[in-house]
Symmetry: C3
Subunit: 356 residues, 3 copies
């Protein structure tokens, strides 16, 4: 790994933290409590679990602001040890970009404008009229179509496909096997039941700092753009239909599916295998539980679950009742009998009175 | 795009339409109402939304037969503007096949029979004894196994895999990353719980005009064939198990899964993330709602939803009641108490009478 | 196929079977009852279906131990004809490994240790410092990252990706398009809602005899290992999150998703599209029905269905009641009315008595 060495004072500056202990103590890596070794920094998320610090081999720790001083244990107090840990870990791993150029076994088409400082691996393919910014890495087997634009410091991993006309921003990561810009699913059906393909002539636009997981698919627009906005993070095996918009910083967990023309606001979160039907709007900060199926527009901040998705609290209660349906139904049938008995008795008495 | 120019009279002939306005007016492209520019043709699906014609920049429109005449707006009246639009858009985009031959950086095995008029891109791989018809395009990174047959005008997109022995018809489109002919999932388990692989020695057959979406998988048969019949359109990330038959013109939306040996009739529609268990038959024109899970044979034209799938009307009502289960259950408990009270009173009186 | 010829006596020895008929009868292939031809062996799973033997063209049959003798039909009696069939079919198809070496159109990096007896196809890529054991086959378009280790007789199929640092055992099969070792999905979110990537510095370890389906994804660990243990069989389009452990001989059917840090014991079975949330343990021999969503730890041998998953019997009854909810709810409303009537009458009488 040959990670660099940094002092607690240097690290504290990166994460707006306060050192308690020797600020000149140097650490040379970052790892979680159970796997950190001597000389490394680790992190504690909850002050209540302070005893874990003593069991860890790490030499120093990121801790919450409210943790009391522990003699002999050097710490950096921060607001969010979790976040500070991610920032520091990235700092340890940061390395200057090594530009290996276009590998002699890669293929690049005509009229491309490639920055001098790039790395294109063996057996990668770049089409015609492609523009690629600085410090971009394209791994082996990746296929970049014609007229694609790629910003700076973007990584296209092995065997990913970026179809013609796609526009990718900077610091984007496209994981192995992902397909960007395949045709949307659109047909018109004739009287004989045959499906005539509607041409899919739009593109995909992916903004800065987006990550698209392995074997995920983002379809090109029928017309116009399918748009993944900055900071959105999409997990593996996710399907994004044509003309979908995924808002800034939204999170789509593995195997999610978004049907055509649906738009998501900022910081939407959809759990694993969740889905949204087409032509709806899911507004900012909506959270959809894993496997939720959203059929209607959702207002800002809504939390939903189930399919069709309903408010999460209702869903949670409904599924717990669902699990009890067998016994509730038995009770229901007993009660039905009781009510029938009561009615029968009432009628009997009624009859007796009339007879009297 | 350099789309060609066609007159309204020429276009009307393509779609069995009637021109109202100047039949010699030439248009040079097709786009939806909101994005069409001057000189382009657009389309209106519903006569009631006629005011949209005035807001559009398009020079002429496909309109429904029942739309009244609008002075100064040239139209082509057709039975189905949606369908006519798809046909005309395809006509505008149609271009003669450009055969670039086998790229010097592609690899082709031994004893192949390739039509002279084909395009095989850089870093594509074609195995041994492969037969490829005229006007076929195989894109970069695609891998075609041994003994594969491909009809005419078929397109195999970037990084798709067509495993050995597969037989593809004409005008088939295999999207990027799709895998045709991987092994089916079949094992026999010994007394120790170890799974012995059953050889998967069948093939995949894909008929004319089929489309298979990005990163979808169609498994080869254990014996015999897995068969996707003509005109079926399969979206992205769909799983088709071994020995499945998908009938003519069936539509499988993204992330659908069909387990082994299940057969689908013609024009079956399965919504996104729907699934079918193995060894069942889903007959012609069955519609399965998104996320439906079909466990049993379905008769012609059945419409089902839910998992296990039930008739769609029952499912729709059942899920709306499901959402109300928390309040219904509260009512139920109140009612239980009321019934108990009534019983108690009844017994009290009964007792009083007996005592009297 | 040029399958070899074997006598019933030889075959019986392979599967611990007893020949009834001529032990020197030679057969030259294996197929199911309906497709077996003359000269081939077939198999009958259920003694009750004995009439199928007469309709089959096969020359001999694997049959259950309890099947009575049938004059003129040579059979091998075995405990499990299903399992014996798989073993014998594999024996017929077994062929010596043909080492074609590294294809001149493949690319291999520096400092690799490749066994002499391997086959690396055209346009496959192998990184630096990779170690590959004997009789390994790497197909066209596959990309093997740096520092990967691969045991003996493993097959990496077309366009699969094995990312850097992955360790694969022997007799592993990675199907086309599968991605092993992509980054896990892990972020820390800052106060502005931006997601900071947590470095994913662990690896994937895949033990002997594992099979990973087409376009499936196994994420590398955040730290440490994501571990697929020996004999596990994973179908197509399955998602395995970071730090997951899949126990020995577990079966994950197509489109299953396992979230991060969840661990599965031995011989767990998860049906198609089933899922497990993160950080739980699913113990040995648990069975999850297709589409089941497991939210909690599951004890050894539990059988569950639904989402959130509940015991399978409860789930089966609950879904059958769910389908009847519309009629049950109507009855419920009628009953509510009846109870209200009874109460009203009771109060009326009560009132009458008080008045009297």
């Amino acid at each position: 790994m040959n990670e660099k060495s940094m002092t607690l004072a240097e690290l504290a500056r990166l994460v707006d933290g306060i050192v308690a202990g020797d600020p000149d103590l140097a650490v040379c890596g970052f790892a979680p409590l159970e796997s950190a070794g001597k000389g490394e920094l680790s992190f504690l998320v909850k002050a209540a679990k302070v005893e874990l610090l003593r069991e860890s081999q790490a030499s120093a720790f990121l801790v919450p602001l409210n943790l009391e001083e522990i003699p002999g244990i050097p710490v950096i107090r921060v607001k969010d040890p979790n976040l500070a840990g991610a920032i520091i870990h990235n700092a340890f791993l940061a390395a200057p970009f090594v530009a290996t150029g276009v590998h002699e076994r890669a293929f690049v088409g005509d009229d491309c404008r490639l920055d001098a400082e790039i790395s294109i691996g063996p057996l990668a393919v770049v089409g015609d009229r492609v523009r690629i910014g600085g410090r971009v890495r394209i791994e082996s087997g990746a296929v970049i179509g014609d007229d694609v634009e790629i910003g700076e410091e973007t990584v296209i991993k092995a065997n990913a496909v970026i179809s013609s006309g796609s526009r990718l921003g900077s610091r984007v990561i496209i994981h192995p096997g992902a397909v960007i810009g395949s045709d949307g699913y659109g047909y018109a059906t004739d009287a004989g039941g045959n499906h005539i393909k509607r041409p899919q002539v739009g593109i995909v636009r992916i903004d800065d700092d987006v990550e698209i997981g392995a074997n995920s698919c983002v379809d090109r627009a029928a017309y116009g753009v399918t748009w993944i906005k900055s900071g959105a993070k999409i997990d593996n095996l996710v399907q994004i239909g044509h003309n979908v918009v995924v808002g800034e910083n939204s999170l789509l967990v593995a195997q999610v599916g978004i049907a055509g023309s649906t738009t998501l606001g900022r910081n939407v979160v959809m759990g694993g295998q969740a889905a949204a039907t087409g032509h709806i709007h899911i507004d900012d900060r909506v959270m959809v539980a894993a496997r939720g199926g959203v059929h209607d527009n959702q207002p800002k901040g809504a939390m939903v679950g189930g399919a069709p998705a309903i408010p999460i609290r209702t869903w949670t209660r409904a599924v717990s009742i669902f699990a009890k349906l067998p016994e509730i139904y038995s009770e229901f049938k007993r009660m039905k009998k009781n009510v029938a008995d009561l009615q029968a008795k009432g009628e009997e008495k009624e009859g007796a009175r009339r007879d009297a």
